[in-house]
């Protein structure tokens, strides 16, 4: 009797478990929360949680709400998580993503699109035309394989080299005209800085294994060396060529000669004087107020004039999410927030570059008053984005693993590592 009783209870337990399973599964495949493309009403938006962007977001929301009492916008900082992309991915799966997110990383857009989390802006009346009129040819980099826009190109942080003028002077180098344009010059300058003992590292890009770190060592230099190539084009890796080898050899020499550290620094190496140079975007201007810095474009093998140098964009875009019920209002807010006036506010409050074709002429007064940002404004028109598609992160991680093994830690031939990574990425790029 006792064993039969136990069995009965086990069956009841299993039934409860199965019921719970069905309930959970139902949560994952429930009814559609997709909104109406023309519906108007209140919406929620998320923006980045850094001080400058919060200030921009708050004033933008206030300006919209004052003029649109029937379509109120609720602005929130993006919830904390290991990364914004994970928070957004979870919100998509849960069906509670906000209408607009002003911190959508291009590397994650392909996955969000595959998840059914994003609205195709090309399908909105005048959507593609608005994007292309504002951003020009740069916008093409943000299309998916079918030429559709699942993201609104918003702002970029063109990556350049910052250098500490005081440390350069201390090392006997000309702080106003530093020799940093060719690989040979960059290496020689780096060697002088380290040999003279002014800083333990000439430069210290994060040597860690996260997929996005190559966007701040290899990618800017590869964009510059190739005059604007992405690392994957037409589902095929491009970097296993002489340009890629040259960039990788340059960095491998920096690590081998201990001009760049293999170890992560817990703090800001440039601000703390642990590195005489940094590879950063315009956000750094407000961060390094206490450093007497100068900036130059990233180097190329034989040197390129600043006006012809390309770099990585480090862009963040705007996504309109399919969970949004009032998509008509969301699209109107999206246009309002990327208007000439709001882009000007963005530039003024954050120093980040709106992805506009007419950036330097439209905001000429700003660049005259803030000459530190002028180089970034010019550079913004020559930026390269990560490759689009649902497998971007996997491709970038594959590249990073090969880079880490060969270039940073010197455990494999650099050219072979790039060749092998390219072969793997060719396969990954073709996956749906």
């Amino acid at each position: 009797m006792r064993r039969r009783t136990v069995r009965t209870r086990t069956v009841i337990g299993a039934a409860l478990l199965a019921t719970a399973m069905v309930g959970l599964t139902a949560c994952g495949s429930g009814g559609s929360t997709s909104g109406n493309a023309s519906a108007k009403g209140p919406i929620t938006i998320w923006y980045s949680n850094n001080e400058q962007e919060v200030a921009w977001g708050k004033q933008m929301v206030a300006a919209w709400n004052a003029a649109n009492p029937d379509e109120q916008v609720k602005g929130q900082e993006i919830p904390a998580g290991k990364s914004s992309e994970e928070v957004i991915g979870a919100a998509i799966a849960a069906g509670n993503a906000p209408c607009l997110i002003y911190n959508t990383a291009p590397s994650a857009v392909g996955q969000f699109e595959k998840q059914g989390g994003l609205v195709d802006l090309s399908k909105i009346d005048g959507g593609a035309a608005y994007i292309e009129a504002r951003s020009g040819d740069v916008s093409k980099q943000y299309q998916n394989a079918d030429g559709d826009y699942f993201q609104m190109p918003w702002k970029s942080n063109p990556v350049v080299i910052f250098y500490n003028k005081d440390l350069f002077k201390k090392a006997g180098l000309d702080p106003e005209n530093p020799k940093l344009s060719t690989y040979a010059d960059f290496l020689a300058t780096s060697k002088t800085l380290v040999d003279k003992g002014v800083a333990p590292n000439a430069i210290l890009p994060a040597p860690t294994s996260e997929f996005f770190q190559s966007q701040f060592d290899f990618y800017p230099l590869y964009a510059a060396q190739t005059g604007g190539s992405q690392i994957v084009e037409d589902n095929k890796a491009t970097f296993a060529d002489q340009d890629g080898y040259d960039v990788a050899d340059f960095w491998a020499t920096m690590y081998k000669d201990k001009l760049a550290g293999q170890e992560k620094y817990t703090g800001d190496a440039f601000a703390d004087g642990q590195a005489a140079m940094a590879i950063v975007g315009p956000w750094a201007v407000s961060i390094y107020k206490d450093v007497n810095w100068g900036s130059v474009p990233v180097p190329t093998k034989d040197g390129t004039s600043a006006a012809d140098t390309w770099t990585f964009s480090d862009a963040k875009n705007i996504g309109l999410y399919s969970a949004c019920k009032n998509q008509g209002t969301a699209w109107d807010v999206l246009k309002f927030s990327t208007s000439e006036e709001q882009d000007g506010k963005l530039l003024e409050l954050t120093g980040q570059m709106p992805l506009r074709t007419d950036l330097q002429t439209t905001y000429a007064d700003y660049f005259t008053a803030n000459p530190a940002y002028k180089a970034f404004g010019d550079q913004a028109s020559r930026t390269v984005e990560v490759p689009p598609g649902p497998n971007t992160v996997e491709m970038l991680q594959t590249f990073r693993d090969a880079w880490s093994k060969s270039v940073i830690f010197g455990k494999e031939d650099v050219h072979k590592a790039l060749d092998d990574a390219a072969a793997k990425i060719d396969t990954i790029a073709k996956q749906p």
């Binding site: 009797m1 006792r2 064993r3 039969r4 009783t5 009965t8 209870r9 009841i12 409860l16 478990l17 719970a20 399973m21 959970l24 599964t25 994952g28 495949s29 429930g30 009814g31 559609s32 929360t33 997709s34 992309e85 994970e86 991915g89 998509i92 799966a93 849960a94 069906g95 993503a97 996955q111 595959k114 998840q115 059914g116 989390g117 333990p200 994060a206 040597p207 860690t208 294994s209 996260e210 997929f211 550290g261 293999q262 170890e263 992560k264 620094y265 817990t266 399919s322 969970a323 649902p390 497998n391 992160v393 996997e394 991680q397 693993d401 880490s404 093994k405 940073i408 830690f409 455990k411």
Partner: protein, 324 residues
């Protein structure tokens, strides 16, 4: 399956007896209730919240992850029309043919080989010592427990300063310091993490042993002493056998938590570096499942990990557990 015929119980009426009236609370309906709810139905009520918690937070996700592992699965928005075909063992093949996954299992094997024995030896030794300490007993117990309750993120920051190239450890070691330094050295990264985790978790295991030591009869020590046993002999002949159940628990818990290693390679070695030398299976699951949008492959890795941990746990129970 053979049903066992129940032995007559005191409260079961003999065959042929007339059924009691239902108003008295006995009879078939009561027997049915008892069969379903047991002798103490109130116990079910009290245990229900935890049962629901276990089902919702552990059992359901575990079963669902098995489903995910056998399908071409990715997370999608509610209402999105997606095809998730059954793919058999494809995700397991993908996982087991990925060198990074294989390496991560090797890495966590190295971790467990260092962490688990070190945890058992240090925690039983320190607990025994702490049990005998007269002065500063509370202070010392709290001191060992502090790292356990401190957030990993904060403690990792301290260890980064201690073990970086110009950190305190290398300054003490001087020319003996490894090059590259500990956390970027493919030989030393995982052992360093294992030592970090051992140190951080030690307070918890010391507490388990301290509790177990209170149950070892003092008379056994007195008898051993009478028989001429010294401190070491008493330790190995009285203390170690006396706390065997706690040792099995420490082995199991440290193995399970060790196999789930994530925070340390994520933060201490910057995403499993150098060159994947400290990547753990859970870190790879995080990369594949959450960053790269392949929860199906991540689930397959998870299932493999669960099976391996179960095998290790069974072996530990077999060889370290009570044999009676």
């Amino acid at each position: 399956m053979t049903d066992v015929i129940a032995a007559p119980e005191a409260n079961v009426p003999p065959a042929g007896s007339p059924p009691r009236a239902s108003g008295t609370g006995s009879g078939p309906s009561k027997r049915r209730k008892r069969r379903l709810l047991g002798k103490n139905p109130l116990g079910l009520l009290f245990s229900a919240p935890y049962l629901v918690f276990v089902i919702a937070v552990f059992a359901v996700p575990l079963v669902y992850s098995v489903y995910i592992a056998f399908h071409d699965y990715f997370f999608s928005a509610p209402g999105a029309v997606v095809d998730r075909p059954f793919v058999g063992l494809d995700n397991f093949v993908t996982a087991l043919t990925d060198p990074a996954v294989i390496r991560s299992f090797g890495n966590v094997g190295i971790f467990l080989l260092i962490n688990v024995p070190l945890t058992v030896v240090l925690s039983i030794g320190l607990a025994t010592a702490l049990n005998r300490v007269v002065h500063f007993r509370t202070f010392l117990r709290v001191s060992y427990y502090v790292p356990y309750v401190t957030a990993s993120v904060a403690v990792v920051g301290v260890w980064l300063f201690l073990f970086n190239g110009s950190g305190l450890v290398n300054q003490i070691l001087g020319p003996l310091a490894p090059d590259p330094s500990w956390l970027v050295n493919s030989t030393w990264a995982m052992p360093t993490i294992a030592i970090f985790v051992t140190w951080k978790q030690l307070g918890f295991y010391i507490l388990l042993y301290l509790a177990a030591l209170q149950a070892v009869p003092k008379e056994l020590y007195e008898s051993a002493s009478t028989d001429g046993a010294g401190a070491m002999r008493s330790f190995f002949s009285v203390t170690v056998p006396g706390v065997r159940p706690a040792t099995v628990l420490v082995l199991l818990v440290s193995t399970v938590t060790g196999a789930n290693l994530f925070t340390e390679p994520y933060l201490l070695t910057g995403g499993g570096g150098p060159d994947g030398a400290s990547a753990s299976p859970v870190l790879i699951m995080y990369q594949r499942g959450l960053q790269q949008g392949q929860p199906d492959v991540a689930a397959a890795i998870g299932i493999i990990l669960v099976v391996l941990v179960l095998i290790i746990a069974l072996l530990q129970n077999r060889f370290a557990g009570e044999r009676d």
